[in-house]
């Protein structure tokens, strides 16, 4: 009797020869990659036309593990790389996959401008409230009072509310989930892939090694329990109301799902209006 080996359904999406990955036990990033794989299956996107762009950091390593065209760029600059990639090759579905420090601190300017332009890229931000790769420094997402190596007496800066930032900058799709909400994440990713324009998904995820431990918030499993008990799904909630604290309720859900012309559509439309037959189109490469 032969028993066929169990195949993990996400394996076809991973560069398995690169395993084991670098993420710590209990880290939430791998969970989000599982969701991403599921979303790729469910969305039926042609995988040869999906490109993943990451910056630097723990989440920035996602690009290195997915079996897709994938680009591990510089710190903070995944979004402008993705913008160039998408404009040059419009047939690609370009997904930016990076962390809160990368996208919102050093890359914050690119984030707001890409949202403003409504570049047709999907941005997945794994928010673990800390700089993981460099050893647990304070981030623009670190909640007030939380301890980090560079805020040893507790964070005294107000953090960004990422869905609010994304919406006010012009994103057409904004959702937030925690690493506990695996089905919701995958579902949101499918919706985002289908959406034309700048789509943003924030995923709160544990960093048990650096954030949870230093702040006495338990291990990865306890954090999942915490997410389960303290998350409240409020689809359509005002993004203004989505502030996060060190402890307390976490509002999750889909908050924005609107239509407006993408950068490419707006560019094409303007050129066509003004230049008429002289407009050559943008053939791409």
């Amino acid at each position: 009797m032969s028993v066929s080996p169990a195949i993990n359904p996400v394996e076809p999406f991973l560069r398995t020869e690169r395993m084991p990955h670098i993420w710590c036990p209990g880290c939430g990033i791998g969970t989000t990659v599982n969701c991403f794989s599921r979303a790729l299956v469910d969305s039926k996107l042609p995988l040869d036309k999906v490109a993943v762009v990451s910056g630097i950091g723990c989440t920035g390593r996602v690009a290195g593990y997915v079996k897709l065209d994938s680009f591990h760029t510089t710190h903070g600059r995944a979004i402008p790389f993705a913008t160039g990639l998408k404009l040059a090759n419009p047939s690609l579905n370009v997904v930016v996959y990076s962390g809160d420090g990368d996208l919102i601190a050093i890359g914050g300017n690119h984030f707001i401008h890409a949202a403003r332009r409504n570049v047709d890229i999907k941005v997945i931000c794994v928010n673990n409230f800390i700089y993981g790769m460099t050893g647990g420094q304070v981030a623009p997402t670190t909640p007030l009072g939380a301890t980090a190596t560079t805020s040893p007496y507790g964070c005294f800066e107000a953090p960004f509310n990422l869905p609010f930032l994304a919406e006010s900058s012009g994103a057409v799709y904004v959702a937030r989930w925690t690493a506990y909400h695996v089905r919701h994440i995958a579902h949101s990713m499918v919706e985002a892939f289908k959406k034309k324009g700048f789509a943003f998904i924030e995923i709160l995820a544990p960093c048990p090694t650096l954030y949870q431990r230093r702040n006495k918030l338990g291990d990865g499993l306890e954090t999942m329990r915490y997410y389960k008990q303290h998350s409240v799904i409020k689809n359509g909630a005002s993004t203004r109301e989505l502030k996060l604290d060190l402890k307390g309720e976490i509002t999750v859900g889909k908050f924005v799902d609107i239509e407006r012309p993408t950068l490419q559509d707006a560019m094409d439309q303007r050129y066509r209006e003004v230049l008429k037959e002289s407009y050559c189109g943008r053939g791409g490469a």
Partner: protein
């Protein structure tokens, strides 16, 4: 100061088409080539050169004295099937062009001093990921904000090694609007040939100088096409450099599922964070430029046959130096000019040859001594004199002539 009046000897010994060696060049796309005689400044000519070279993507951020390049590209792009995007800063511009290159475009960005400083990290990323692209720097006086509207040549060492880590670069230095056109094509061709970022080191004087620019018919412009692999995905290793140290490329979306990283990587493109991989990769990246220096190097020589005083100057400064050489000849002084057109890699072989014959080298540059150090290194003891200038305006021929007189006494 009419350089055309003096017959230049192309010291590289081969024309641009010959440089490509065994590779098949293609003609430029007529749609993008503005064939004809024009009265045009260097910035605009550089833009036309990029279009003729096949550039179909540019990203930039406004900065004096370079802005006219992208202003023209913004106007021309929709008429020729190209894309322009003004980004939020130079960091974004300099990486958007890398994304575009991996999307299959031929891309470039344009800046000046402060913006060039901001772009350094992505010059390193382009070198590390072997992304063909061109960075135009219309140099102004520095450091810092310096002299936004006035010329300088203070970024020459920054062009070579401004990004961190160890790498080699290719940089060109045009001295006229005509060359802004011609050499831009060479810059793109070199970037494709060697899969490397190429620095196009203009200066404010050349950028804002208006002269006759002749743009030939498209079929007379030879383009080095991207070296796309013919291998199927299961046999292709993205960073496996065969033969000449330059790997073949693919673009995203073609089914190769490549991984590209700024981390030290192996032939598969996968991170390989150990000294052996570092040694292998960085040696190859440096070696593909150094090892082909003879193919890349490009100098013009004027009145050099019997020269005992060899002036060395590049960019706008080479035109003033030539005027001084001509005046010196009128006085019976055997002076000549060696002008590096490709400034990096440095034409060290030629300077070593000249060092055994020349009495002295006189280096004229619009900084307080950058390329002179390279000349001195190759001069092997032959007297080397710098005529420095902090920038803001070009040297006067008389001050150069005075030094020529002194070194021959």
């Amino acid at each position: 100061m009419d350089s055309a009046a003096v017959q230049a000897h192309d010291a590289s010994g081969h024309d641009q088409a010959g440089r490509a060696g065994e590779f098949n060049l293609v003609s430029a796309n007529p749609k993008s080539v503005l064939t004809g005689a024009h009265f045009m400044d260097g910035d605009h000519a550089a833009c036309e050169g990029a279009l003729a070279a096949g550039a179909n993507f540019a990203a930039g951020y406004p900065i004096t004295p370079s802005t006219e390049v992208v202003e023209r590209f913004a106007a021309r792009a929709p008429l020729v099937g190209a894309t322009f995007l003004q980004m939020e800063d130079e960091l974004a511009s300099s990486i958007a062009i890398l994304g575009a290159a991996w999307g299959g475009a031929k891309s470039f960005t344009v800046t000046s001093g402060p913006g060039f400083s901001l772009m350094m990290e992505h010059i390193g990323l382009a070198a590390m990921t072997e992304t063909p692209c061109v960075f135009v720097n219309v140099q102004r006086g520095g450091p810092s904000t310096g002299l936004p509207t006035l010329p300088g040549q203070g970024d020459m060492m920054q062009a070579r090694w401004g990004s961190h880590g160890d790498y080699e670069i290719i940089a060109l230095s045009p001295n006229s609007p005509q060359e802004c056109f011609d050499l831009m094509i060479e810059a793109f061709n070199l970037s494709e040939r060697f899969r490397t970022p190429v620095m196009f080191m203009m200066d404010e004087s050349v950028g804002h100088m208006t002269e006759k620019v002749v743009i030939p018919p498209a079929d007379q412009i030879k383009i080095f096409p991207r070296r796309f692999t013919a291998l199927p995905p299961n046999e292709y290793l993205p960073f496996d450099a065969n033969g000449d140290g330059v790997p073949e490329m693919v673009k995203a979306g073609d089914g190769y599922r490549i991984h590209v990283t700024g981390l030290t990587h192996d032939e598969r493109g996968y991170p390989a964070l150990n000294w052996r991989s570092q040694q292998k990769l960085v040696s190859r990246l440096v070696g593909k430029i150094r090892g082909h220096a003879d193919e890349i190097t490009h100098c013009n020589e004027y009145l050099m046959e019997d020269a005992e005083v060899v002036l060395i100057a590049y960019g706008i400064t080479s035109r003033v130096a030539l005027a001084a050489v001509q005046k010196a000849r009128q006085e019976g002084i055997r002076a000549g000019l060696l002008r590096p057109v490709v400034v990096w890699p440095f034409p060290e072989k030629r300077i070593r040859e000249l060092a055994s014959k020349a009495k002295a080298f006189v280096v004229v540059e619009m900084n307080l001594g950058q390329m002179v150090n390279e000349v001195e290194r190759c001069a092997a003891g032959t007297k080397t004199v710098l005529i420095p200038h902090a920038g803001g305006n070009v040297h006067a021929p008389e001050e150069i002539l005075q030094v020529i007189r002194e070194v021959t006494q």
